[in-house]
């Protein structure tokens, strides 16, 4: 395996300066085997780093109204799946060195991280189901106010507004971040106007059961925490030391890269989609030498910033469509509260406009939710499969 081909060529060293940690020249000279391994191996590793970087540059270059939208999240998952495939190919092409220490331990570490991500995948699946429930409530609103295609055009009366308002209240409660559901429930009740001060035990029960309903919809125990899970995934994720890189023929680098990508993607999913205990304070520390570090760090910062904005601080998920749903339904609710009957033409137009906005959001979501769920499931499957393959070959 060791060869002395590299001693004359200068390119590997310059490559090293660019894509790997800068190692001291004398360290390089004192070793017999080249740091990047055989020429083909080095090109392979180099190309992997570049492709990861390209994908994340792509993801990072979107305008802010596209960031964390459903199509963007789907693209993110796609990028993850591609990176993972390439990673798998690298491991396959280097199967002999992969079985030797310390590489075997590094791979085992990565697989442990990936298994932790499986629980996140399941939580995201639950979250998607939650979003679907909200969508069903929106459909009621649309049906009531003439926004769906089925109802024939008729003028809007008090009855329809009452129906829509009820659904809007239910939606607002359902979209509350878990932590706030207690007090905000009362607040919402008040803010939705005079028609909703009914205290019939059945209605209260209804609202309570909606909140209760949310806890039923998590398929994990009350003590499970997305934040803790993310921290576990990022635990001990450290840039490989110089001697590790040398000992593994450079293969320690893609392992670290893949671990970082995994962590970021899971973190972004938790940020976007509702799940239990969505804390986003995971420590990210990717050295800038890696070509993919800059775009990922930039995305991280942008998403964090979004989460701190006033009107998004208490959101149960940063997905752009969730924001739109919440905003549209809130505006519509306020409008519905303020109308006087009979409706004048101007008001009616306003209502119809809001309803249309809501419909657009709803339609956009309808298309993307199911494919998103399938993608998340695919991530689950690939992680399991790669792990099994890894275990078998050891």
């Amino acid at each position: 395996m060791p060869s002395t081909d590299y001693q004359g060529s200068s390119s590997p060293l310059t490559n090293l300066g660019r894509s790997f940690l800068p190692l001291r020249r004398d360290q390089v000279h004192s070793m017999e085997s080249p740091i990047g391994g055989s020429p083909s191996n080095e090109a392979e590793l180099e190309s992997f780093q570049r492709q990861v970087a390209d994908r994340f540059h792509d993801l990072a270059s979107v305008p802010s109204d596209e960031l964390l939208s459903l199509p963007w999240v789907r693209k993110l998952i796609d990028a993850f799946l591609c990176c993972q495939e390439e990673f798998r190919v690298i491991l396959f092409n280097n199967r002999t060195p992969v079985k030797k220490p310390p590489m075997d331990r590094l791979i085992a570490d990565y697989n442990e991280r990936a298994v932790k991500a499986l629980d996140v995948c399941n939580a995201i699946r639950d979250g998607i189901e939650q979003i679907r429930q909200w969508q069903k409530l929106i459909e009621i609103v649309l049906c009531a106010l003439g926004g769906d295609n089925n109802s024939y055009q008729r003028s809007l009366g008090e009855g329809q507004f009452r129906r829509a308002r009820k659904a809007l209240v239910d939606l607002a409660i359902a979209m509350l971040d878990e932590k706030d559901s207690g007090q905000a429930l009362a607040h919402r009740n008040r803010s939705f106007g005079r028609h909703n001060n009914s205290s019939s035990h059945s209605k209260d029960h209804h609202h309570r059961s909606l909140g209760h309903f949310r806890s039923l919809s998590w398929s994990v125990s009350r003590s499970w925490s997305a934040a803790r899970q993310l921290q576990a995934i990022g635990n001990n994720l450290a840039v490989p030391r110089g001697n590790e890189v040398l000992a593994t023929n450079g293969l320690a680098m893609p392992v670290y890269t893949m671990g970082s990508v995994l962590l970021f993607v899971m973190w972004a999913l938790v940020a976007a989609i509702p799940c239990q205990d969505r804390g986003l304070q995971v420590h990210f520390n990717f050295p800038r030498q890696f070509p993919w570090a800059a775009p990922i760090i930039s995305l991280h910062e942008r998403i964090l910033e979004e989460s701190k904005k006033r009107d998004r601080k208490n959101a149960c998920g940063l997905l752009r469509e969730i924001y739109q749903m919440e905003k549209c339904s809130r505006l519509l609710g306020e409008l519905a509260d303020s109308v006087q009957f009979p409706l004048n033409e101007e008001k009616e137009k306003e209502v119809k406009q809001r309803v249309n906005e809501l419909k657009q959001v709803s339609d956009a979501m309808k298309e993307d939710l199911e494919p998103l769920e399938k993608q998340v499931r695919e991530v689950f499957h690939r992680i399991v499969r790669n792990r099994t393959e890894g275990l078998d070959s050891l």
Partner: protein, 566 residues
């Protein structure tokens, strides 16, 4: 509860209907808020429903005939009335559902839970008949439904989840809600209340919400009992609980078409079903060490058994994902089992203990392996289907001393499982050979091999399934091996002693007496005694566990020794 038509009442009918509806507007009066129509008075309920029908009739007439008399104002008023009625019906619907959903099927104090303790002591290979009957007996209403035409399996047992009166009330309300376009509200509410009920049933069945991480952290013993409990619970869930929910949906939404009852069913059951299967999925992806094999096979068999029922209950397109998940889990469990078996192989090959067993007795590894493969042969049925490929033997015929070898030519016609078992025995012997080299005393090495191979043979003979799979050919080979080891052992032990008793060197020609040299003889006897003592001492510490073998050996040795002595 068929409501009579009243074609004669026209606008009068409408007005009185409207009055009834408005009277029960819960946002308008305290009284209306407090009382539930369907709870208090069936007659009131009838009247109310009739009123709703009247309004609906009026509305549809107005829209169909495009009646100019129905001005926009009137239309809006009617719409408003309908909405009030629907809001009321929603409340009533929810109320009836909740009243009738709190009675749970599974009472923890009933004998269902004691029967579960019972089953814990029984053999773990559960047949589907047994457990579904056990679960049945404890349920309160166990009439099976006749109306199910699409059920293909007989192990599904639907149960009445609600009294018939409640169901017909619900049906009456649902029909009106749906014909007024309030389908979505209906489904949503139905789903949320019934899901609650299922959740409490789940808890009573002991189905927990565990994450994959939780399961990984559990001790194997704890996990074993959870798996056992899950298998029992899953059977009840699929065959009784879910099937009964499905039937309930069908009954309540009988008049309005199959899409709707299916939508309600999925709304209710999808989440719980995913929660249920998540456990099995977590097990199927966990790392398998050899002791986990049998529980994994149990889980595999149970799920295999349930698959037709799952397909019967979750038959619609919207439940695709559930069926798919179940099938995926099944194949992962099979993979996990295969993984364990191949891991087992390498565990035996690499088992590293070097300290020789005192007295050349049976090595714990031998016991472990043979016990394990006897258990494997108990699961023959499942494993024959799971193991599809021949064991990989690395370099065959390579003459490489560092890997075991097996000639497959003579083993044609055997199932892969049988080949696997034979291969395991080959690998075990290979390891044992290696261990035997650690004995300083050559005779002990032979004794060791003899004892262990003999044990293998005994174990194979002792299990009919194992014997049938291993086959008499290979058995003979093994027998030959331990006999050979026995011979080698005897030779190695006694050769030096026998040497003392040999004839040559004793006869001296010439001198006074022809015959045996006295001194030489005396010398010989002294050595003989010494050696005999020595051998006796060492042999006393040797162990031959099997009495029959011991006897055989004793006889064989004395056969050789005594004549020589004479």
């Amino acid at each position: 509860m068929e409501l009579p038509e009243n074609p004669n009442k026209d606008s009068n009918g409408y007005e009185s209907a409207e009055k009834i509806i408005l009277r029960w507007d819960s946002t308008a009066s305290e009284d209306a808020r407090e009382k539930m129509i369907f709870e208090t008075n069936p007659h009131e309920a009838d009247l109310y429903l009739q009123a709703v029908d009247e309004i609906q009739r009026f509305l549809s007439h107005a829209s169909i005939s495009n009646n100019a008399a129905a001005s926009t104002d009137d239309q809006l008023k009617v719409n408003s009335t309908i909405q009030i009625a629907m809001a009321r019906l929603e409340d009533e619907f929810r109320n009836i559902l909740m009243t009738n959903s709190s009675a749970s099927l599974f009472d923890p104090s009933s004998s269902f839970s004691t029967s579960s303790h019972h089953e814990l002591e029984e053999d773990d290979t559960v047949s589907n008949e047994d457990s579904s009957h056990n679960g049945l007996l404890q349920l309160q209403h166990c009439e099976s439904s006749d109306s199910s035409t699409y059920r293909s399996t007989s192990s599904i047992r639907e149960v009445d989840l609600m009294p018939g009166e409640a169901i017909s009330d619900l049906q009456a309300i649902a029909t009106r809600m749906i014909s007024s376009g309030y389908l979505r509200e209906c489904i949503q509410m139905y789903g949320s209340v019934r899901k609650s009920a299922i959740d409490s049933s789940f808890r009573k069945l002991g189905i927990e919400k565990l994450s994959i991480g939780d399961i990984q952290r559990l001790e194997w013993e704890a996990l074993e009992s959870k798996i056992r409990r899950w298998i029992r619970a899953a059977k009840v869930c699929v065959r009784i609980l879910f099937a009964s929910e499905k039937k309930l949906c069908e009954l309540i939404f009988e008049c309005v078409g199959t899409d709707i009852d299916d939508a309600c069913f999925m709304e209710t059951v999808k989440g719980p079903a995913i929660q249920l299967f998540n456990f099995a999925e977590a097990i199927s992806i966990s790392r398998g060490s050899p002791e986990k094999l049998f529980k994994i096979l149990d889980l595999h068999d149970a799920l295999m058994d349930l698959l037709p029922d799952i397909e019967a209950v979750f038959v619609s397109k919207s439940s695709d994902s559930i069926r798919v998940q179940a099938a995926e889990i099944l194949s992962r469990l099979a993979e996990a089992a295969r993984g364990i078996l191949s891991e087992f192989e390498s565990v035996i090959l690499r088992e590293p203990s070097r300290v020789p067993v005192p007295g050349g007795a049976i090595h714990p590894l031998t016991r472990y392996v043979m016990n394990y493969i006897s258990l494997i042969s108990d699961y023959k049925q499942t494993l024959i289907e799971l193991i599809l490929s021949k064991p990989s033997t690395g370099s065959r015929y390579s003459g490489d001393q560092s890997t075991p070898d097996m000639e497959f030519a003579e083993l044609e016609g055997k199932t892969p499982l049988a080949l696997y078992l034979i291969w395991i025995i080959v690998v075990l012997q290979f390891n044992l050979e290696g261990k035997s080299k650690h004995y300083r005393d050559a005779s002990l090495a032979h004794l060791f091999i003899m004892n262990n191979v003999h044990y293998i043979v005994q174990k194979v003979k002792g299990s009919p399934e194992l014997r049938e799979m291993i086959g008499d050919d290979y058995l003979r080979k093994l027998t030959g091996k331990f006999r050979q080891a026995a011979t080698s052992y005897q030779r190695a032990t006694w050769v030096s002693v026998l040497y003392c008793l040999r004839d040559e060197g004793l006869h001296v020609s010439g001198s006074f007496s022809s015959g045996v040299s006295k001194s030489a003889l005396r010398e010989r006897f002294k050595t003989f005694n010494a050696m005999f003592e020595e051998v006796h001492r060492t042999q006393a510490t040797c162990l031959i566990a099997d009495t029959q073998l011991r006897e055989e050996l004793r006889i064989s040795i004395s056969e050789k020794l005594i004549p020589a002595y004479r």
